[in-house]
């Protein structure tokens, strides 16, 4: 197995300050939001790597940096050994770009409403002046739609069908890596099942690699081979799927698994999580999870934990064992 994606010490800081004049008048400091802090991970070829986290965990930001839509503030992302932002080899960058695709959450905004489905699907190929004859029709059938749909416009389709069109577009350039940012969050359960099944089938048929970004633990458990748990932009735990779900090490992972509603949770009274996610502009000192952590000790308030390997899991916690 070789790594298709290598992420090393990836950090992204957003400047969310008010405009300069407001800052001067109101005597405000510059506000910096660290969306992603020092994240390192590898994605093996032909596997599904899932990133889970709640809002503000930085999971989508990582996704955008992996596909090259957003430059990192520090650290690097390499896909097939090429850093999209630093490489000087234009041919290699172009080749890698066509190997990366993305599927988005918003079913209405992800397809240009003024374009016919045929043109939408063929765009990745047309943009590189490749041959597009019959391409859209073939891909539509591959994702379970009819080749006649190519002449329609996006508004003529239901949510699930739109996501199939997005998948068809993502497949057009014959990518190796597809970053899926909450691909089924906007879908109803029965349609979600159709889309997840389709994604699994395509992965097996085409040998795809997925970076699967989601807040839904059941979906992640269904899809992933390896899971990374993010909290406030930090990777707090990373493990093979079964290890993570059966034997979580980090207190945040445990809390998340406990809090998620269970389908068989009749009369269950879960241990309730403490507090809420802190303001990412002024994150807590030391381990960012310490104010909500039931195990926290004084050390946690001052010293940010390094990731340690325990069994097959990597955990950033002083106390995990």
């Amino acid at each position: 197995m070789n790594s298709l994606v290598v992420v090393k010490n990836l950090t992204r800081i957003f400047d969310v300050s008010k405009p300069w004049l407001n800052r001067v008048i109101e005597k405000l400091p510059r506000a910096l939001l660290t969306a992603v802090s020092n994240v390192s991970l590898n994605i093996e070829e032909k596997t599904v790597y899932a990133l889970v986290g709640e809002s503000g965990s930085g999971k989508s930001t990582i996704g955008k940096m992996v596909v090259g839509l957003l430059p990192p503030s520090a650290g690097m992302v390499e896909v097939e050994g090429i850093d999209l932002f630093k490489s000087t080899d234009d041919d290699a960058v172009d080749r890698v770009r066509s190997d990366i695709q993305m599927i988005f959450q918003d079913l209405f905004a992800s397809l240009n409403p003024r374009w016919r489905v045929r043109d939408i699907i063929a765009e990745p190929v047309a943009a590189r002046s490749g041959k597009t004859d019959g391409l859209a029709e073939r891909l539509l059938e591959q994702v379970g739609l009819s080749s006649k749909d190519a002449d329609k416009y996006p508004h003529e389709f239901s949510g699930g069908q739109r996501q199939r069109i997005c998948i068809a577009r993502a497949l057009a350039s014959e990518p190796r890596l597809i970053v899926c940012d909450e691909p089924t969050s906007a879908l109803d359960v029965s349609v979600q099942a159709q889309v997840l099944n389709l994604m699994s089938d395509l992965k097996d048929q085409l040998g795809l690699t997925y970076l699967f970004i989601s807040h839904d633990l059941t979906v992640v458990r269904h899809m992933a081979d390896r899971v990374g748990v993010l909290y406030l932009g930090r990777l707090v735990e990373e493990a093979p799927r079964d290890d993570l779900f059966d034997d979580p090490k980090h207190p945040y992972t445990k809390m998340l698994l406990e809090a998620a509603p269970k389908l068989d949770g009749f009369d269950r009274t879960p241990d309730l999580p403490e507090g809420e996610i802190p303001d990412p502009i002024n994150p807590p000192s030391g381990c960012v999870f310490h104010p909500r952590c039931p195990l926290a000790i004084d050390r946690c308030k001052v010293e940010a934990p390094e990731a340690r390997q325990i069994g097959r899991s990597w955990t950033a916690c002083h106390l995990a064992e």
């Binding site: 839509l69 770009r97 993305m102 988005f104 959450q105 003024r114 943009a127 997005c166």
Partner: protein, 304 residues
């Protein structure tokens, strides 16, 4: 046939069919525009052919035989014996030509600048939008008069009458681009963050292609609305400028010029010289404006 059937039943056409104001406005606009376009065929006289003019016909009352020649003019004649009905038809040609061309000029300028400002952002955006803000603080007529004055100063005397129409178009167009730019910039800011634009970026599309092929088609519906309402305003602006004597020259009279001429005879009893061009101007501006209002209500889901 099926296509026509579907178009006939589409929400857009349906709401048109069920809006009496829109139907009447469109009919009126069509009648006025067509009669302007086919003025040479419809007009009983050519008001700009000096040979056909008879000074004896001056100040003929509408529908009454002239005391000297016995000729009957539907809407009367002016001081030089020109048929008012014919001058209105020819005047409307100039008014509509200036209006359409000025709006087209403003539209192209405003949409391009708005797209660039919204998509590129940063200093480019600041520069474009500050210029727009500054221009908005002056009344459009003032801006147009300023441009007209400058142009008059730099064009050679013998070309002034020829150039006047084009100067008018540029003056009105330049005073009108701001609202296009503002609306398009706003819409572009929304569209550029949508995922379909991200997907296009991911593919490696160049910014120019993204702006033209992806964003532009999605910001056009408010542009259509503004263009229609601007057309009414541009026609009025042209009339105002011409009325003030800084617009179309008397050799190529527009509706505004006609009103200006007629104004001189208002108190001597020759009311028809000013009344009929004014009514035409009113009908034209009002119907275009009502059509624009209806378009805005139909295309803007927030107002529905």
């Amino acid at each position: 046939m099926e296509r026509i059937g579907r178009a006939w039943n589409s929400d857009f056409v349906w709401s048109f069919r069920h809006s009496p104001v829109a139907v009447v406005s469109l009919a009126l606009v069509l009648v006025l525009v067509l009669s302007a376009v086919f003025a040479p065929l419809i007009a009983p006289y050519d008001p700009f052919d000096p040979a056909s003019l008879n000074l004896m016909n001056g100040f003929s009352k509408p529908m009454e035989p002239n005391t000297f020649t016995g000729d009957v003019f539907w809407l009367g004649t002016d001081d030089q014996g020109r048929d008012v009905f014919s001058t209105i038809l020819y005047g409307m040609r100039i008014s509509l030509f200036v209006g359409f061309t000025a709006v087209l000029f403003a539209l192209i300028l405003g949409v391009s600048l708005g797209l660039i400002a919204g998509y590129v952002g940063g200093w480019t955006e600041t520069a474009i939008m500050r210029v727009a803000d500054v221009q908005l603080t002056f009344p459009a007529i003032l801006v147009a008069m300023l441009i007209f004055g400058i142009a008059k100063g730099i064009t050679p005397v013998h070309m002034r009458d020829e150039m006047a129409i084009w100067v008018l178009i540029i003056a009105i167009g330049l005073s009108d681009w701001v609202q296009f730019a503002r609306v398009v910039r706003g819409a572009t800011l929304v569209e550029k963050n949508k995922e379909y634009v991200q997907a296009a970026k991911l593919i490696g599309r160049k910014p120019g292609a993204i702006m033209l092929r992806h964003i532009l088609p999605n910001v056009l519906s408010p542009v259509l609305v503004i263009a229609t309402i601007s057309l009414a305003l541009a026609i009025i602006a042209e009339a105002t400028l011409s009325f003030l004597g800084v617009g179309a020259p008397p050799t190529q009279p527009s509706l505004g010029t006609l009103i200006c001429i007629g104004q001189g005879y208002l108190f001597s009893g020759e009311w028809w010289i000013i009344l009929y061009p004014s009514i035409t101007l009113l009908a034209l501006a009002l119907s275009v404006n009502l059509l624009g209002d209806w378009l805005r209500d139909t295309l803007n889901p927030k107002l529905r």
